[in-house]
């Protein structure tokens, strides 16, 4: 790696002037001296190049030889792409982007008749969302490799992705919510996945003046029940809460199993110029919710049925078809009626991350504007509740005294602590957005033991299993918001990136940078074999329950019913059955029900028609997908396979003739010899 003076100087200026609070002139002076040293050192080298202090064997540590597999899967949220991307660790190689909340014309997601229902909401069909956080399903507090959840931030939704097929299996809209940001964190056995409102909104009366915010707006946190067998999601209950911004969350574990913790900012309850008005108080809150208590209150009938309208979309693997159901009610709990269910813990200042260590005893707030990292103790919190060590209440929710719940503060950690993950040796790693670094510290002793720069402005970080009971403390992935000069430039719009650090030793060692899709927020990682062994290779054609599937080429046909023409196409290397189709006229609605009859691994076929106002479809072996075409001009249209399937892929094509509107063409179709 070539030494980059500009980059280095920028780092040093920010580091020197931020951490030791030296006046910029002094910092500049130090820098000037360092430069001359570096230049002198550089001159001494014969090849004229100077390498950055990368660990010498970094290359071999991230090198996964061709044909070999990575040790870990990582699932990095796609941010404003709305998708979920899968990378291998330590290589950083991108394997697949799973379409979740956004349409994907490459795969037909959101374009085929089967997948359109998945993107339905109470606002209609939405082709996009902003996916921030991923969370693997858990059993006994560790990832079990069954599903991964992803939040939709903009139009509040929660998605479940099946890790056998790596496909979105379910999307649930969250009612009474906006900015579904503190999601999709889950309890130790994925009893619940939570959704908290980043934006408070009017909930009881919908059309209100915005300046009545404090009186008419509310936040909610939703507990979504996960069926332990099917994974099916349903909103079990919501908790009405004061109009703060509920930012991030994590479930308790071990001793704190029954609790869920949410960070909140804007406890000032500002509705305008939040960057100033929501940054006034020294402390905001961590909201502690006893979900077991909430369950009791629901059992007692304390949950009020609240009218709502929200979509529940499920994709059935047997019929390869998604469907939407519209739900009309939700159970709402009011903390005022439910003593002992919700508490606030003061937390400095505008906390983002809200993270629970592997033991379940320590809760760490990442106050973006705080100068310390507060570490709360679960056992002290319980004692404080027992002893009623409260500082009054907010909206009927008791506020626990800061010191009563505090284990201690990490002093001078850096600037802009955001998010914390954990290793298996008692250390926490906190990202520092402003000072652009990761800080490693001892949880019990509250001492910083190491720090490593990130390039640049790290948001979330991830250690495989790092928010579970059992972290795999080998690698740390850092997800950066800014990359500037880290990669070849691509105009004003640059990639975001992840960086990989070796954390197996005392010191963090930067191993590699790799670009990511969209903007990565949170990620998850787990040992590869937890998931790889269950990965589906094909769909069995005999088990295809699609109502328009064909099980063999002998069933291929073209059927007219009024203006609807259904084409039942079979695909097998390297032809369509049929590949000559006549009998369609302008004004018809043509449904191509295309079945891939292959039963061999990694032989998908694609399907596209000239001029079709729609995407292509990729169809996996044994699968059936449908795309609708409404041709406007009478002529002959070619269609073809878009996924290079065989040596004769280029021959895999067909023609469909469209005759003028009002004509009465005879349906004709064949393959090869008439």
């Amino acid at each position: 790696m070539k030494f980059n003076v500009k980059n280095f100087s920028k780092q040093m200026v920010s580091k020197i002037s931020s951490s030791s609070i030296l006046p910029p002139i002094t910092a500049g002076l130090i820098l000037a001296i360092m430069f001359s040293i570096i230049l002198l050192a550089g001159c001494g080298k014969k090849d004229g190049s100077t390498t950055l202090s990368l660990s010498e064997d970094a290359a071999s540590k991230v090198f996964v030889p061709p044909g070999k597999h990575d040790e870990f899967y990582s699932f990095i949220s796609g941010g404003f792409s709305g998708q979920l991307a899968i990378y291998g660790l330590p290589s950083g190689r991108l394997f697949r982007v799973i379409p979740v909340f956004s349409v994907d014309p490459e795969k037909g997601w959101g374009y085929t008749e089967e997948t359109k229902p998945m993107l339905m909401t109470s606002h209609g069909f939405i082709p996009w969302d902003d996916s921030h956080h991923s969370e693997l399903s858990m059993t006994n507090g560790v990832p079990d490799g069954r599903w991964i959840f992803l939040n939709g931030n903009n139009t509040p939704r929660l998605a479940r992705i099946d890790l056998k097929t790596f496909r979105t299996a379910e999307i649930l809209e969250i009612p009474n919510s906006a900015g579904n940001h503190s999601s999709p964190f889950t309890t130790e056995n994925s009893e619940y996945v939570v959704c908290g409102t980043r934006f408070s909104i009017p909930i009881n009366e919908l059309d209100v003046p915005i300046d009545s915010y404090k009186e008419t707006f509310n936040g909610t946190v939703s507990f979504v029940k996960i069926d332990p067998q099917s994974g099916n999601m349903s909103v079990a209950f919501q908790i009405m809460s004061p109009p703060f911004d509920y930012d991030l969350s994590h479930a308790g574990k071990g001793p704190s199993h029954d609790w869920f913790f949410f960070s909140c900012y804007n406890t000032e309850q500002a509705h305008t110029l939040l960057e100033v008005n929501a940054s006034q108080k020294d402390k905001d809150f961590i909201m502690a919710v006893n979900w077991k208590k909430a369950e009791e209150y629901i059992a007692q009938g304390k949950g009020k049925d609240k009218e709502a309208e929200y979509y529940h979309n499920t994709y059935d693997e047997a019929s390869h078809t998604g469907k939407s159901e519209i739900l009309k009610t939700v159970k709402m709990l009011d903390p005022k009626d439910c003593p002992g269910m919700v508490y606030y813990i003061p937390c400095p200042k505008s906390p983002h991350g809200c993270d629970v260590d592997p033991s379940g005893e320590y809760i760490i707030g990442g106050g973006k504007l705080a100068t310390v990292i507060p570490v709360f103790s679960y056992s002290k919190m319980i004692k404080a509740i027992e002893n009623k060590e409260f500082d009054g209440d907010v909206g009927g929710i008791p506020v626990i005294k800061y010191e009563a719940a505090l284990h201690g503060e990490v002093q001078k950690p850096g600037l802009g602590p955001l998010h914390t993950e954990f290793d298996d040796k008692g250390f926490a790693y906190t990202s520092m957005f402003v000072s652009s670094e990761v800080v490693k510290w001892d949880i019990k002793k509250l001492e910083v033991v190491d720090r490593a720069p990130s390039f640049y402005s790290v948001g979330h970080i991830m250690i495989p299993g790092g928010d579970s009971k059992q972290p795999y403390g080998k690698y740390l992935v850092v997800m950066n918001k800014i990359t500037k000069d880290r990669f070849l430039p691509t105009g004003p719009e640059l990639t975001q990136s992840a960086q990989l650090y070796d954390i197996s030793g005392d010191k963090m060692k930067l191993l590699s940078d790799f670009p990511t899709i969209g903007e990565p927020h949170y990620a998850q990682g787990c040992p590869a074999d937890l998931i790889s062994k269950n990965s589906v290779k094909i769909f069995k054609i005999d088990e295809n329950k699609h109502p328009h599937a064909i099980k063999s080429v002998n069933d291929a046909k073209v059927v007219r019913n009024g203006n609807e023409v259904r084409v039942y196409l079979g695909m097998i290397r390297s032809h369509f059955t049929p590949d000559v189709i006549e009998g369609v006229k302008v004004g018809d609605k043509v449904y191509f029900h295309v079945t891939n009859l292959e039963q061999d691994w990694d032989i998908p076929h694609g399907f596209a028609v000239k001029g079709m106002n729609n995407s292509e479809m990729l169809i996996m072996p044994g699968e059936t997908q449908t795309i609708v075409w409404e041709p406007k001009v009478a002529t002959v249209y070619p269609f073809y396979c878009t996924d290079f399937c065989s040596a004769l892929h280029q021959e895999m094509q067909g023609y469909i003739r469209v005759q003028p509107a009002g004509s009465n063409p005879e349906i004709k179709y064949y393959l090869g010899n008439k």
Binding site: I572, L648, E651
Partner: protein
């Protein structure tokens, strides 16, 4: 027949029942695109494995589809094997050396006939190609090896006995060995009798010698 011969014959015959529940033969195909392997197993009454995939690939070179329903050997073979097992067991029970001869000869004929039939079947599939096939390589045929490995375009084909096949081959070899042992054993036992008789009186000797000569005359020759 000696007791040990009888037991081994019955056990090895019964062991061939294995061939009803495991494949007789396997043909494995190796190509870069198939790291997971590709192959078919020939059983006494069916063909299993990646038949659809192999048929799919074979259509490029115009090979006929391998359709187990149209292979009559798969309906005949269970009876042949069942008959062999039954004859082996009967031979063991009755312990007649003549029957052992009959059994061995039938077994060998069945084995050779099976091999020849398999070769012809492979020959037919490998040579009877559709002239309109997409891939026609002049002079190229695709007959898989009868036993061993062979390169066929991008595939290396391996053809070897599978579990059931090995058991049948083993039983066949054992039968031949038993026959050899039996005939050899009888010769040595006759020699032993000769040595023992020297201790007898001359008259007894004469009588015994006559009897022995008679017996040896009756014994069919090994040649």
């Amino acid at each position: 027949m000696k007791k040990i011969t009888k037991i081994l014959l019955i056990v090895s015959s019964l062991a061939m029942i294995t061939a009803f529940v495991t494949p007789l033969w396997m043909i494995d195909l190796e190509a870069p695109q198939y790291p997971e392997g590709l192959g078919m197993q020939i059983w006494v009454n069916k063909i299993s494995g990646d038949l659809n995939t192999i048929n799919g690939l074979n259509h490029y070179i115009g090979m006929k589809k391998i359709e187990p329903d149209s292979i009559k050997e798969l309906t005949i073979m269970p009876f042949v094997l069942g008959g062999l097992i039954a004859l082996g067991v009967i031979t063991g029970i009755l312990g007649k050396k003549k029957l052992l001869w009959v059994f061995t000869v039938i077994f060998l004929i069945a084995g050779i006939a099976g091999g020849v039939d398999f070769y012809l079947w492979e020959y037919d599939y490998g040579h009877d190609l559709d002239p309109t096939a997409a891939i026609v390589v002049p002079g190229m045929s695709y007959q898989p090896p009868l036993f061993g490995s062979k390169q066929l375009l991008n595939f290396t084909a391996h053809s070897y006995p599978d579990t059931g096949g090995w058991v049948v081959i083993g039983a066949g070899l054992l039968t031949v060995l038993l026959l050899v042992y039996e005939t050899k054993f009888n010769k040595t036992s006759a020699a032993k009798v000769k040595i023992n008789e020297t201790k007898l009186t001359s008259q007894d000797n004469r009588v015994l010698n006559n009897t022995l000569a008679q017996e040896l005359k009756n014994e069919p020759s090994l040649a």
